[in-house]
Symmetry: C2
Subunit: 173 residues, 2 copies
């Protein structure tokens, strides 16, 4: 008459077919959106969404310059990712690295004239693409709902997630 763990009585509950369908629709659609936006940005301005995020942050920063760490925190990237990306952007003359006066370990990332110009040319087409592909596709109610859903998911991610490495990523698209 033992009664220890007779049935698995699993803690894990699985989604229904319908829930799974919605999940797939949701995630695939947001992927599709992202890839469309990225492709347009690329073709209209030769910038990747990563480039855009970096340039946006720098263009808003005082003196068009920012410490590498601060930049990474601002756009929520890992530092090594940023470092690699800055290397590529520096080769294209979009940004420049300068020594940091305050802390000689640090690097100041500076927006170049070329970088600023590229960003300025990119921004209007990009924003209008956001409007066309996202905002215009939804009714006002749906748009509001999308905001609520994002907030709910994020709140949940913040509490339930976080256990495994990754947090919210990929700001600035």
């Amino acid at each position: 008459m033992t009664h220890d763990t007779p049935r698995p009585r699993r803690a894990r509950k699985l989604p229904t077919t319908e829930e799974l369908r919605i999940w797939r629709d949701f995630i695939e659609t947001s992927e599709g959106l992202r890839s469309q936006l990225t492709a347009r940005l690329q073709s209209e301005s030769s910038l990747s969404s990563g480039d855009y995020a970096v340039l946006l942050a720098l263009s808003e920063a005082e003196g068009h310059r920012m410490r590498s760490s601060d930049l990474a925190a601002h756009i929520d990237w890992e530092r090594s990712r940023l470092s690699h990306h800055l290397g590529r952007m520096e080769r294209r003359d979009l940004i420049r690295r300068e020594e940091c006066a305050a802390d000689s370990r640090g690097a100041d990332i500076v927006l170049t004239a070329t970088g600023l110009q590229s960003f300025r040319q990119a921004t209007v087409p990009h924003l209008s693409a956001v409007r066309e592909l996202f905002v215009a596709a939804l009714t006002p109610e749906q748009l509001t709902a999308a905001g609520d859903i994002a907030a709910a998911l994020r709140a949940h991610l913040g509490s339930a997630g976080r256990q495994r490495g990754a947090g919210a990523r990929a700001k600035g698209i």
Copy 2:
């Protein structure tokens, strides 16, 4: 007192600040979700979401085998992407390539025993993660709304997008 093109009256309409905020929330949150799911999958089964998509398709295929092209179409990947990925999966003994009897240009991709086992071990934890991070975060109304929003965006993408290369990508997460 001239009145010629005093205002640009641009064809492009831009999103409002609020619309842009929702957009960013939406896209960043779905990125965060994706990265969480990917990280969990990785840590619980050493599979990437790409691996999972491929294994899922093969596990449902007749004879656990599929022509490379069909597989690519099924999961909506570019062929070269699939080819590279299959190379990596083959090295890990998750799949095997065999000559295709019908068309000797073709390749049959076959699920190995190892691959099937990995997939089977991954599926319950993965689905329960979907439930935990997505389904459980939303009210039933929000879940429905999420489905509607995805459908609306997808329909719009299908008509307005498509002009530039990329379509809906990244199935099977």
